[in-house]
Symmetry: C2
Subunit: 262 residues, 2 copies
């Protein structure tokens, strides 16, 4: 049975991240939010990855990719009518995802809906786990999508990350339309970091077609990288062992396995 918010006031909108892949990374908090909703809205693929028992008895509004604004607005409208809505996305809605857009739309509308973000396992958490332990030290996340961000600023960030020896997680590295940006990022890193710096590529993390590649900055060109890929470039201390990408917790003479630093 679809539940309806009984009161006359505004309802509630949960922004829920299902993590990578299917249900194994769906947190209890996310599950509870979905169960409490009478309407699920989201990109079709993410809705279809949900366990069937979470979809039953609810209104399901599946939309296509690239309709984020319409989707966010519709979710808000339904919540404003008193519904309990869960807007479903993969990963974490709080990292390069729907949460910001929904708040921007809510502010624009002066929406009275109660909005809650339920965090999820983001691509960076999932890909790091599959690669070993690349994110043991300071890191930067940079998206190569220049649809909403000037490319000059993206280059500036890549340079800053390279110069300051950040481990760097690259979102949206490549697609059919985004063809040269990753090669340019590689050039920028090669100005600051050794060609043998390890690089991990994780495609479709935790899904049946998952693919993990360990390579180096030198050999990054020509690797298979797509829409579902995240690329992690190690820092100057990162190394490969046993087909894993590992970044030590510290630096050179400050670091000693016998010590017990935090």
């Amino acid at each position: 049975m679809a539940k309806r918010n009984p009161g006359p006031g505004p309802g509630r909108l949960y922004l829920v991240g299902t993590g990578p892949g299917a249900a194994e990374h769906l947190t209890p908090a996310a599950r509870t939010a979905i169960e409490s909703a009478d309407c699920l809205i989201g990109y079709r693929t993410y809705l279809e990855l949900l366990p069937p028992e979470l979809r039953g008895g609810k209104e399901i509004i599946a939309s296509e990719m690239m309709k984020e604004v319409a989707r966010g607005r519709q979710a808000l409208e339904l919540a404003e009518q008193g519904r309990v809505v869960a807007l479903i996305s993969g990963g974490d809605p709080g990292i390069y995802a729907m949460a910001g857009l929904v708040f921007e739309l809510a502010r624009e509308r002066g929406s009275p809906a109660i909005i809650e973000v339920v965090p999820g396992i983001a691509a960076l958490n999932a890909c790091a786990a599959r690669l070993g332990a690349p994110l043991m030290h300071d890191f930067a996340a940079v998206s190569l999508s220049d649809l909403l961000t000037p490319w000059e600023l993206i280059e500036k960030r890549l340079q800053a990350a390279a110069v300051a020896d950040f481990v760097t997680v690259i979102y949206n590295p490549q697609s059919k339309r985004r063809t040269w940006q990753l090669a340019r990022a590689r050039e920028i890193f090669l100005e600051e970091r050794a060609p043998e710096t390890p690089v991990g590529i994780v495609t479709a993390a935790s899904r049946p077609d998952e693919k993990i590649t360990l390579t180096t900055l030198a050999d990054l060109e020509g690797q298979e990288v797509g829409m579902q890929s995240t690329v992690i470039i190690g820092n100057s201390q990162s190394y490969c062992w046993n087909n894993l990408l590992i970044t030590p917790r510290g630096y050179g003479n400050k670091y000693n396995l016998e010590s017990n630093g935090a």
Copy 2:
């Protein structure tokens, strides 16, 4: 009943993150790993946060803080003896946490144990969700702990993050011994970013004593920040609305709510 790996070969070591707080962010994958283990090892506080049914029938090895190396080594030794071990930590073991240390120790020992990282909801995911949507654009994570990292490098990273307009997540911002570093970080950001840049402080995210503070770079000094706090500094576009910290998905004239960019 404690399960034992029946074979004569090495066992398995799961590095499991329980997320923030109690069980509401413990993923099914983390739960399955814990259930399959015959021995749980970890810092006492995290073990005590586990649901009781996950602790029953297992050997429990609780250790004190600051004993990470001994804890990691013991976990490996048990797995090498054929045990199935879950090394439990809060947050995500793959982000500034135990995973890297365990792999370093395993490499040093030439350990044959099978090691698997199970990702969790890290402080940055949890704190971002509680603040609204600060991580909608490129961000950097910087730890202010200089126990294993030269302070000069930490300053260099803060400067790079400030100059390149990264949203910045500050780990280990302050403690009894770490008293001046956050003030210095604030100075560095004030050289590049406006005094009214919004800053969020989340302490003990998702726990009963959770505290959320929204302030600005100008007013950051004097705020209550401790061992359990994470600080998120907005980028030049971030703003506060409805007691939330929001970073837009894009920049100025590239950005339009009517458009449908990815």
